[in-house]
């Protein structure tokens, strides 16, 4: 036992060294015309060694440290708590949700435009993560190319507007539907593959879509992207200074208020909020429906599920398609928010971030996913000065999470179904 943990601790320390030294210590420097690899200065070497030492000590006494942390009541308020009865819990959750939604509705009127804009981005990621949660958390399919469906939604709106002048509200269902169709077409051949292969193929698919967007210059403008994507209108009202589209009217003229640049941003935020709520509610219902139960059944025990007549392909395909649908949804909102999109917005890192949100949030739990989306998108913004170490902090957080709480921030809790007892 002791030698085992010693070995393990040594291993972790060496891995830390191997990862940290090149990231922090080595630098590509331009000297004249040539690029040279510069070694680390002493301070960095010392700090990397110190970090490795910390990892070593922590891993060596991991059980003792984690054990004492877990039992310390001040650090873990949930340590000896009884689970709440179901009806009480659900009532609390409903109240919390209502308070949250009301707060989210009035909050943007009191803060800066930048904050509202960031919040809209968070809402887009919430939609994405809730959708991917269906695929990864509920159905247990590792999809590394989820960003492709996001791109399909965004580009559908951009192209439909560019060529046919289609508005946001028409593009929204079309983009989501098209993303879902892509999900269906890709899923059909691919879902026969298991775990790792599925991950690799979806990863490839994500890249293919991005490369296609990059290279089909005649259609998509390639790396230059597509601009001039309009904001959503509400009952034919536009929120810009001047009306752009024929037949629309301007919000500030109708209501006779002074024009303000924040109208547009707040409206977009509110629309994103409504759509995110819609996404959450629809997916929540799915989980209580036959389709949601079959996703979980297949994840729990595929052989048993098949022996009861569930078709693996059909069940997986439904999860994949529904996940893709909501990515398309989010993509349309994203295109509208940015007003300009290019393939650069849909790189693999995006898939990784969305996946990280799902994993942090606790595979399957909606509230957890929402919290994680807020954390993953907002924290890096707050920690701008540490931006160099962003990915490092991000990675460290993920590793810690996996060690400490592999079930995520808020693991999924099952909702019990009441059964009528027959006498």
């Amino acid at each position: 036992m002791a030698t085992h943990s010693l070995k393990h601790a040594l291993f972790c320390a060496v891995v830390t060294l191997i990862i940290a030294y090149p990231i922090l210590g080595l630098d590509l420097e331009a000297r004249g015309t040539s690029v040279v690899l510069a070694g680390a200065d002493t301070a960095t070497v010392v700090s990397v060694l110190a970090a490795a030492l910390v990892v070593f000590v922590f891993q060596l006494f991991r059980h003792r440290i984690l054990g004492s942390l877990g039992t310390m009541p001040s650090l873990n308020p949930f340590a000896n708590r009884e689970p709440m009865p179901q009806d009480k819990r659900q009532r609390l959750e409903t109240i919390a949700l209502v308070v949250l939604v009301v707060a989210a509705l009035i909050w943007p009127f009191f803060v800066s435009r930048g904050a509202v804009d960031l919040a809209t981005l968070v809402l887009i990621y919430i939609m994405l993560a809730l959708g991917l949660n269906v695929v990864v958390g509920l159905a247990g399919l590792l999809d590394l190319g989820y960003v492709a469906f996001y791109a399909v939604g965004a580009y559908t709106f951009a192209l439909l507007h560019q060529y046919f002048g289609v508005s946001f509200w028409v593009a929204l269902p079309v983009g989501a539907g098209l993303a879902a169709t892509f999900g269906l077409l890709l899923g059909f051949p691919v879902l026969r593959l298991r775990g790792d292969y599925l991950a690799i193929v979806t990863l490839g698919f994500g890249e293919i879509i991005r490369i296609l967007l990059n290279n089909m210059t005649w259609l998509t403008g390639g790396p230059n992207g597509i601009g001039g994507i309009p904001d959503p209108t509400v009952f034919g009202m536009e929120f810009g200074r001047r009306v752009k589209e024929e037949g629309n009217v301007s919000f500030h003229e109708i209501f006779d208020v002074a024009y303000s640049g924040s109208h547009k941003i707040i409206v977009l935020y509110l629309i994103a909020l409504v759509l995110a709520l819609f996404t959450a509610l629809v997916i929540r219902r799915f989980t209580k429906m036959p389709v949601g139960r079959s996703w979980e059944a297949l994840r729990e025990d595929e052989i048993a599920a098949r022996s009861l007549g569930l078709s693996r392909t059909a069940v997986k395909l439904s999860a994949f398609t529904i996940g893709a649908f909501f990515a398309g949804f989010a993509g349309t909102v994203f295109a509208s928010k940015q007003g300009f999109i290019s393939p650069e917005s849909f790189v693999f890192l995006e898939s990784a971030i969305i996946l990280a949100i799902v994993v942090l949030g606790g595979m399957g739990s909606q509230l957890g996913v929402i919290l994680a989306a807020v954390a993953v998108i907002i924290l890096p913004e707050l920690a701008r000065e540490f931006s160099e170490y962003r990915m490092l902090i991000f990675g460290a957080a993920m590793v810690l999470m996996m060690v400490w709480r592999p079930q995520g921030l808020l693991p999924m809790r099952r909702i019990h179904i009441e059964i009528n007892k027959q006498e």
């Binding site: 429906m289 052989i303 022996s307």
Partner: protein, 251 residues
């Protein structure tokens, strides 16, 4: 209703099942017995579509089903349990039974989102059927427990209930008594007889302990090292010389 003819299954160099034949009539309990490794589970796996047999035919209600996908065979009414219990262990007991009833439910997504009357009615019927079967196997009080937290014997009964809510015509049980104590085994035998009498299902039962199946089986097939050794009524099998030599003799 079920006719297995000269079924063979080869794994590389190993002939796990060699020319096994089997007949099951309506409302009949037929047992397959044989020592460990005789090939009983493999016969089941071929019948339920988990393996594609390398030889022979399987007719169910006159249709050839060998090599069909497992979920299609299950939908025809041939449903099985597993030698090592396979429940959806993180789901609750009722949910296990609801999953199994997917074909009786309204799976239209729009109907479910809108909770149409037809959707709710089907959902309620499924819950009622689940409650009925839980009551039947004595698990009603456990309805909202996680299936994985049930005691072993309860898990076995839940697995059988989960088959029964699909309203099968033929139930295949792979060593359902394994790991049960004598009292539980007696209850299980009563349950199996009840299934036949009250719900008109036929049962194919795998056991490796011969004495267990003697009283409830209409007919027994003995296989040994993949080959059929004997078949007939319990009395015929009990008096068969080959069986006594190869099987009872060693005990």
């Amino acid at each position: 209703m079920l006719e297995v003819r000269n079924l063979s299954m080869r794994f590389g160099g190993l002939l796990a099942v060699d020319q096994v034949s089997l007949d099951v009539q309506e409302r009949e309990i037929v047992s397959i017995i044989g020592p460990n490794g005789a090939g009983k589970t493999t016969v089941f796996n071929c019948m339920s579509g988990f393996y594609r047999p390398t030889g022979g035919t399987i007719l169910f209600e006159g249709r050839e089903i060998q090599g069909k996908p497992d979920f299609r065979i299950s939908r025809l009414g041939l449903v099985r349990t597993f030698q090592h219990v396979r429940l959806f262990s993180k789901m609750t007991v009722v949910e296990n039974l609801l999953v199994a009833q997917h074909r009786h439910l309204n799976t239209n997504l729009i109907a479910g989102l809108l909770r149409t009357p037809s959707y709710r009615q089907r959902e309620q019927q499924a819950l009622d059927r689940a409650a009925y079967w839980l009551d039947r196997v004595g698990l009603l009080d456990m309805a909202n427990r996680e299936a994985g937290n049930l005691a072993y014997g309860q898990q076995r009964r839940l697995e059988i209930a989960r088959c029964m809510v699909t309203e099968p015509k033929l139930l295949m049980l792979d060593e359902p008594a394994a790991g049960l104590n004598p009292a539980e085994t007696r209850d299980l035998n009563q349950l199996i007889i009840g299934l036949k009498e009250d719900y008109n299902v036929s049962v194919v039962l795998i056991e490796h302990d011969m004495s267990l199946v003697m009283e409830i089986s209409d007919r027994i097939n003995v296989i040994n090292q993949g080959r059929p050794l004997a078949s007939g009524t319990p009395d015929e099998v009990r008096q068969n010389d080959d069986v006594i030599k190869a099987y009872l003799g060693e005990a």
